[in-house]
C-alpha cells in the first residue's frame, strides 16, 4: 500500500500539472445484502450467514491534448469478516498518445480474450476473489505499456514491475476458494519475490468478420498453489506459492451475422512442465424475442484445461457451460443473465442468475443468486459447496457533468 500511496501522490500531481481541460469524476455507491444457504450437517462451522456491505467506486479522469490521467478507486466496508472490508486502486495511470504510439504508466486492468466462462488467455491481473471468488473481478496491476497500431493490427508491450498477491477471505467465512486453514505468507519461485519484473506482449487484429489475438507472458503466475506449513503455534497454515511461468495464447472470434464462433487456447510452461488449455464456444443472438423488443443471446462453451494449478474460477477443467442473456431493451434497461457450468467427468453443477433494472434516473437494483446444487467431493468446487447465496444490491450513480 505504501507504493500505491506514492503512486497516488504522483498521479495527483500530474492531474494538476497537466492543466486539465476536460475532466470529470463519477461516484458509484451501493449497499448489498447477502444471505447464504443452510449448512449441510457435515459442513465446517461458518462465522455468519447474512452479510451486509457498502461499496463505493470513485473514478476520475482528466485529459489535455495528447495526455490524460485517470484514476479508479474501489472500497467495500462489510459488516462481518475482517478481509471483506477492503479497498483497491483499480486504475491510476497516465496516458500519452503520439500517433502511432500510446504510452501508459501506472496501475491498470487489462482483459484479454473472447469467451464468456473460462478466460484461458487472460493473465495480466491478479483476481479480487474477496469481491468475486470466480475471478471475474481483477485488482489493479502496476505496469508500463507501449502500444502501436496501424492497418496491420495493434501491438502492445507490457512491463510489469510489481507482483500483487491474491487476497483471501478469512477462515470460517463463506465463498473462500482456498484450503480450510489460515493463509501463511506468500512464497515465490523467483528469488526477487514480488519484485520480479514480468513481461508480456499482445498482438491483435480485426480483419473482416475475424478478430485475432496472440499473446505471450513471462513472469510470476497469478495462480498460486498451496504449500502446507506448520509454524511454532502448531496450527497448520497454507502458504500460497507463486511459480514462474511462461504462457503463449491465442484467441479468435469469427462473427457471422447472428452467430459468433470463439476459441481460446494457451500453452503454459511452469515448474519444468508444459500444459495446454483451450476453450471453444458458440454464441447466437436473436432480436425481438417472442414479438417483444427484447434481445436474447445464448452461449454454449466447452473448456478443457490441463494447467495446474487451475486458473480461476478454479474448477473449469473439463466442463460444459451454457448461458443466456436477455436484454429487455426497455426504458429501464432491464437485463437477465443465467449461466450454468457442468463438469463432464464429475457430477458437479454450478448456477448463476443475475437480474438488473433501473428503478429511477440514477438508481439501479441488482439481484443475484449463485447455486451449487450438485458438487462432487472430488471437484475443486467442493470448497464452495455450502456457499450458495442470494444477494440484493441497490446502486446510486453520482455523475459530474461530462465535457
Amino acid at each position: 500500500m505504501a507504493n500505491d500511496g506514492r503512486a497516488l501522490c504522483l498521479v495527483a500531481a500530474m492531474l494538476f500539472a497537466t492543466g486539465a481541460r476536460a475532466s470529470h469524476c463519477d461516484l458509484t455507491a451501493g449497499v448489498e445484502a447477502r444471505r447464504y444457504s443452510d449448512l449441510e450437517p457435515d459442513a465446517p462451522a461458518r462465522d455468519y450467514r447474512t452479510l451486509a456491505s457498502v461499496q463505493g467506486e470513485l473514478s476520475c479522469s482528466r485529459s489535455h491534448g495528447s495526455q490524460s490521467v485517470s484514476a479508479k478507486v474501489f472500497v467495500r466496508w462489510a459488516q462481518h469478516g475482517s478481509e471483506r472490508t477492503h479497498g483497491d486502486i483499480r486504475e491510476l495511470q497516465w496516458l500519452w498518445t503520439h500517433e502511432p504510439f500510446q504510452v501508459r504508466a501506472g496501475i491498470d486492468r487489462v482483459f484479454w480474450g473472447v469467451t464468456e466462462f473460462a478466460h484461458i488467455v487472460d493473465v495480466i491481473n491478479q483476481a479480487d476473489i474477496v469481491e468475486d471468488p470466480f475471478g471475474e473481478t481483477k485488482i489493479g496491476q502496476p505496469m508500463l505499456t507501449v502500444t502501436t497500431s496501424g492497418a496491420w493490427g495493434s501491438l502492445s508491450i507490457y512491463g510489469l514491475p510489481r507482483f500483487r498477491v491474491r487476497g483471501f477471505p478469512g477462515l470460517g467465512e463463506p465463498m473462500r476458494p482456498a484450503p480450510p486453514t489460515g493463509i501463511g505468507a506468500a512464497l515465490f519461485e523467483s528469488r526477487a519475490g514480488r519484485s520480479h519484473f514480468d513481461r508480456a506482449l499482445r498482438y491483435s487484429r480485426s480483419q473482416g468478420p475475424l478478430d485475432i489475438g496472440l499473446s505471450y507472458f513471462e513472469g510470476t503466475s497469478r495462480d498460486p498453489r498451496f504449500l502446507i506449513g506448520v509454524p511454532a503455534s502448531g496450527i497448520p497454515e497454507s502458504h500460497p506459492y507463486y511459480e514462474l511461468m511462461s504462457q503463449a495464447g491465442v484467441d479468435l472470434q469469427l462473427t457471422l451475422d447472428e452467430w459468433a464462433f470463439k476459441f481460446e487456447g494457451a500453452r503454459r510452461h511452469a515448474a519444468k512442465r508444459t500444459r495446454d488449455a483451450y476453450t471453444v464456444g458458440i454464441e447466437y443472438a436473436m432480436v425481438g424475442v417472442l414479438g417483444t423488443s427484447a434481445d436474447l443471446s445464448t452461449v454454449l462453451e466447452y473448456v478443457r484445461d490441463h494447467r495446474d494449478p487451475l486458473p480461476l474460477p478454479g474448477f473449469l477443467d473439463d466442463d460444459l457451460e451454457f448461458g443466456f442473456r436477455i436484454s429487455g431493451n426497455d426504458a429501464r434497461s432491464s437485463e437477465l443473465k443465467l449461466g450454468v457450468t457442468s463438469d463432464r467427468r464429475r457430477d458437479s453443477r454450478a448456477w448463476s442468475v443475475e437480474f438488473g433494472t433501473r428503478i429511477a434516473a440514477h438508481w439501479r437494483l441488482y439481484a443475484q443468486a449463485r447455486v451449487f446444487d450438485k458438487v462432487s467431493p472430488r471437484d475443486p468446487l467442493t470448497l464452495l459447496k455450502n456457499d450458495s447465496y442470494l444477494s440484493l444490491a441497490l446502486v446510486r450513480y453520482f455523475l459530474s457533468p461530462s465535457q
Binding site: E258, N329, A331, S333
Partner: protein
Amino acid sequence: MRSLYWLTLALSAGATLASADRSDLRGLEIATQADKRDEGFGDTTATLTMTLYSSRGETTQRRMRARILETESGDKRLIIFDEPGDVRGTAVLTHTHLDGSDDQWVYLPALERVKRIATAGKTGPFMGSEFAYEDLTAQEVARYTYRHLKDEPCSGGQCFVIERHPVNEGSGYSRQTVWIDEAEFRVWRVEYFDRKGSLLKVLTFDDYQLFNERYWRARSMKMENVQTGKHTVIEWSGYRFGNGLTDAAFDPARLADSR
C-alpha cells in the same frame, strides 16, 4: 468512390437493370445525388439527447456523444454514453460497409471488456428507444434498391418521394418511403414498413442547420412507432466538423480508451 461501387453493382445486375423502368433510375439518381451532397465532410462530432416517451407520456432521457469519420469504404461511428449513470462510459463502435454487413464492437465499462457483437443486433432497438441500430447507421446508397414514386410538397418545400427496399436480408424492414427536398436533397420524412408490409414507424427531421456552407444537419429527429404509440426524440447539438479525427480513434483495440 461510393458511386463507382454502385455503378459496378448496377452493371453486374445488368439484366435487372435492363428491365428496370424509368422510375427505378430516377429513384437511384435522387438517392445518389443526396449521398453526393454529403461527401467530403471528413469527420463530425456532436452531442445527442435522446428522450423516450411511453404511450402514457412518461419520459426517460439518455445523453451520448457521437464521433463520425468518413472513409471510402463506409463511415466509422463511435457513440459514447454519458447518461444514465449505469451506462456511463459504454461505447459502441460501428464500421459501416457499403453492402450493409457492418462490424460492431461494444466496450462495457462494468466488465472493462471490449466485445465484438453480432450484427443481427442492428434490427433491434437502440437503447430501448424507437430507433433501431440500423436507423442510426450510415444510409449508404448501395444498401437499397430505389423507386421514384411522386413529387409533392413537404415540410422542406417541394419533395421527391422515393421508395427504397433493403438489399440485405438482415434488415428489419420490408421497405421505406423517403421524402427528400428538391432544393437541397435533405431527408424530411421516412416511413418504415415492417416485414409484413404494415406501416411501423414514422421518422421526421426538423430544424436543419447548414455547416461549412455545404453540409445540412437536422437538429431534431422524431421517431414515432404508429403500432405502439411510443415515440423517441433525438436532439443533436454541438455539431463540429474537421476535428482531425483519424482511423486510430476508431480502432477496436482502442475502444476501451474512448472518453
